[in-house]
């Protein structure tokens, strides 16, 4: 028996008159008005809502194995599905580090068992994230986890020789190196964006140059290696200029920005609540404006959440002792709508591009971020553009509650998420 799903009256990319989308065995079978399925068809009444390809997150911390007090693959997958995501890339800074085929296959299998979202493990670039010896990239690429993104995220691959070799080596695997761009010599002890707010609060500054200089160096290395470089969580307006020049010169570089760097600034730090502590740090209004413009222009390719759950004991501390990072999966789409759609910098096509299509391309996923068309995978998220909701950390699906948007009213709600024809989340609840 074939499984059928009929999505009634949806507006793909928020454009045109509502249409019905009939899905058969996980693939779009028909698109048009007034469709009907078989007697056993499952229906999803979209009622004129916006239909987008399922969202893809290039930068997620699921914390498992080793950090289960903060998040697990199960709780993180639930948060992803509720946030409209159908694929996430799980960063390797776990315990043990995902620097071997054994660990990446373990994470991949955990994701499959949960089954709410495609979990693609990111492999470490260097053994133990130590930045010294290259991890077995080829073995991880050839494993069941089929790793195509490598990163030491949380730490910068600082040694230029190691970075150069990794870029060269990854090119033979059709993989990309995702760099956490931070010259740690310039950020020793850093607690906040170096500027007016940090100066008054007495917090050691994280200078923009620490990001910009590594990005400039890596673009030169990628140019010479002919390899693909991806820059994680761009936060400084000055980095945009470096990226623009590198792209114009033909360097194969892509870049991401987080939702929080599109919306929040270091003005939020004034009460020293470490829920606002994140690396790279929240910067200024000039920086958020530059991030939005660069995303609209395409200099920044994608939005990636840097979803970083931390249990309360790691966050509800004095500022310097708190771990950096904030939740992102369930708020990302709403924050992008608030920062970029409501300001007319992106339309829904643009949202699909930066949150689904381009991330899938960069991550090497053939069956995600696809057009909404007959014959394509039925992998969607359905968005109510007029929905408004209030964020409460305790009500989010993550195991941790460290959201910087606590109490904020945000636009756009995810009504349903569909992964290859199967509903993974609907009306704020995940599928059983």
């Amino acid at each position: 028996m074939t499984a059928e799903l009929l999505i009634r009256s949806a507006r793909p990319y928020g454009e045109g008159e509502p249409v019905d989308v009939l899905v058969r065995d996980g693939v779009v079978a028909e698109i048009g008005p007034g469709l009907a399925g078989s007697a056993s068809v499952e229906t999803l009444d979209a009622d004129g809502l916006v239909l987008l390809p399922g969202l893809v997150d290039l930068h997620t911390h699921l914390r498992e194995p080793g950090g289960e007090e903060s998040e697990t693959v199960a709780t993180g997958s639930a948060a992803a599905a509720l946030g409209g995501y159908t694929a996430v890339f799980a960063m390797p800074n776990t315990d043990p580090v995902a620097d071997s085929a054994v660990v990446v296959e373990h994470v991949r299998r955990l994701g499959e068992e949960v089954g709410l979202v495609d979990v693609h493990p990111v492999g470490a670039v260097t053994v133990g994230l130590a930045g010294v010896r290259m991890a077995e990239l080829g073995t991880m690429a050839a494993s069941r986890a089929r790793v195509r993104v490598f990163s030491d995220d949380g730490r910068c691959v600082h040694d230029p020789v190691v970075m150069r070799r990794a870029l060269e080596y990854a090119s033979s695997l059709d993989a990309v190196i995702a760099q956490h761009a931070e010259d740690h010599r310039l950020t020793a002890g850093a607690q906040a964006h170096e500027g007016v707010v940090a100066a008054q609060l007495g917090l050691a500054g994280w200078p923009a140059a620490a990001e910009e200089t590594i990005v400039a160096r890596d673009c030169a290395l990628a140019r010479e290696a002919g390899s693909r470089l991806h820059v994680c969580h761009v936060s400084s307006a000055h980095t945009i200029a470096v990226l623009r020049a590198a792209k114009a010169a033909g360097v194969r570089v892509t870049a991401e920005v987080t939702p929080h760097h599109l919306l929040l600034t270091d003005a939020a730090l004034r009460d020293y609540d470490p829920v606002h502590k994140v690396n790279p740090p929240l910067r200024t209004g000039d920086d958020t404006a530059a991030m939005r413009a660069a995303l609209a222009e395409g200099v920044i390719d994608v939005v990636a959440t840097d979803h970083a759950p931390h249990a309360a004991q790691y966050k509800d501390t004095e500022w310097a002792a708190a771990r950096p990072g904030m939740l992102g999966l369930q708020t990302a789409l709403s924050v992008v709508v608030a920062a970029c759609v409501e300001t007319a910098m992106l339309d829904w096509r643009g949202v699909a591009r930066v949150m689904s299509e381009r991330p899938a391309e960069i991550g090497g996923l053939a069956d995600q971020g696809r057009p909404i068309a007959v014959g394509e995978p039925a992998t969607f998220c359905l968005v109510d553009p007029d929905g408004i909701w209030t964020v409460h950390g305790a009500a989010l699906a993550s195991r941790s509650t460290n959201t910087p948007y606590e109490g904020m009213r945000l636009p756009a709600t995810v009504t349903a998420t569909v992964l290859r024809g199967r509903i993974t989340a609907r009306d704020g609840k995940v599928a059983n």
């Binding site: 940090a198 008054q200 007495g202 917090l203 020293y272 004991q313 501390t317 004095e318």
Partner: protein, 321 residues
């Protein structure tokens, strides 16, 4: 006033109110054989110092004792991470025990803000709870990382006011490691609130990025500024600053930024010299300058007790008064 966390919580009137109270307390104690006022009898003040300090801790303790408060010193060492109880639990515990006031020094900027938050939140939710109806715990910031040291700025202001007869319109120089100095931050903002013109003189490496937004001016060479100053405050420069490439050497610092006898002679006759201590004699300040009549270093220490008495009085008895 519930807490004293930052001088930016004070407007000019409330700051002057504190200084006036300090003056009155000082007068009240003058000539008394037994230096004891009954004002805070039955109140409990806990000092928690996560960093070494002699003058500030003792000053708060003496201030509490002269007001008849029960003062308790809790020896704390190290940060809260990995060394036992978290700062959050400590704050909640002290609030639950019934401390009326926690005086805290901590190496993390913002630690006093967080303690105030935890004490309040737990009282509000009842998770730990206050000890009785209307009871609540005040927090005094006795120095948090490189952020602020509000009572130091208040005692400096009291000293300047004593010596110069006022603060508004006076030009006050602050010289040295502004970047790492909580004393400098509190003084810049408090003195500006009180109408002084503040001038910073420091090596560019020891000025924070973003200092341009402060209510002060970054001055030129020390020699050029000294003749126009009514007061000059020399900051401590810690030896480890020589390592982080902030400075070439202690010798060069002394040559360019130290208050030598020759430089001190450039000050107007009425000018007062301040130092928050502990002093590195010979580097920041010449011994003869530190001990000269123009030096207010020991007056600062004396005023510290009266200012802290005033702060405790406003926090603990202010509502009832």
């Amino acid at each position: 006033m519930r807490h004293l966390l930052s001088v930016t919580d004070l407007d000019a009137a409330s700051a002057i109110g504190l200084l006036d109270t300090a003056d009155r307390l000082k007068q009240a104690l003058l000539g008394r054989e037994v230096r004891k006022l009954p004002t805070l009898r039955g109140r409990t003040v806990v000092t928690m110092f996560y960093e070494n300090s002699t003058r500030t801790r003792v000053s708060f303790e003496v201030a509490g004792k002269w007001m008849s408060a029960d003062t308790i010193n809790v020896a704390a060492s190290g940060s809260s991470v990995g060394k036992g109880e978290s700062l959050r639990d400590t704050a909640a515990t002290l609030a639950a025990i019934g401390a009326d006031c926690i005086v805290v020094r901590h190496p993390a900027s913002g630690a006093a803000h967080r303690m105030a938050h935890w004490a309040e939140r737990d009282a509000a939710t009842g998770a730990v709870g206050p000890t009785g109806p209307g009871s609540s715990t005040s927090v005094v910031n006795a120095g948090d990382g490189t952020h602020e040291h509000p009572t130091q700025a208040l005692l400096d202001a009291a000293t300047v006011r004593d010596r110069l007869g006022g603060i508004a319109g006076r030009r006050i120089g602050i010289v040295g490691d502004v970047l790492h100095s909580r004393v400098a931050r509190s003084n810049v903002f408090l003195l500006a609130t009180l109408g002084a013109e503040v001038v910073l003189v420091a090596p560019p490496t020891l000025l924070p990025v973003g200092v341009a937004a402060w209510p002060c001016r970054v001055g030129d060479a020390l020699e050029d500024e000294l003749p126009g100053l009514d007061a000059v405050m020399m900051l401590r420069v810690q030896a480890e600053r020589m390592h982080g490439a902030f400075l070439p050497s202690a010798r060069e610092y002394a040559v360019r930024y130290g208050l030598s006898e020759r430089r001190a002679a450039l000050l107007p006759d009425h000018a007062v010299v301040l130092h928050p201590g502990p002093m590195v004699r010979g580097m920041e300040i010449a011994p003869a300058v530190a001990d000269a009549a123009s030096s207010a270093v020991l007056a600062q220490v004396q005023n510290g007790v009266h200012v802290r008495m005033a702060v405790l009085y406003h926090l603990l008895a202010g509502a009832a008064a």
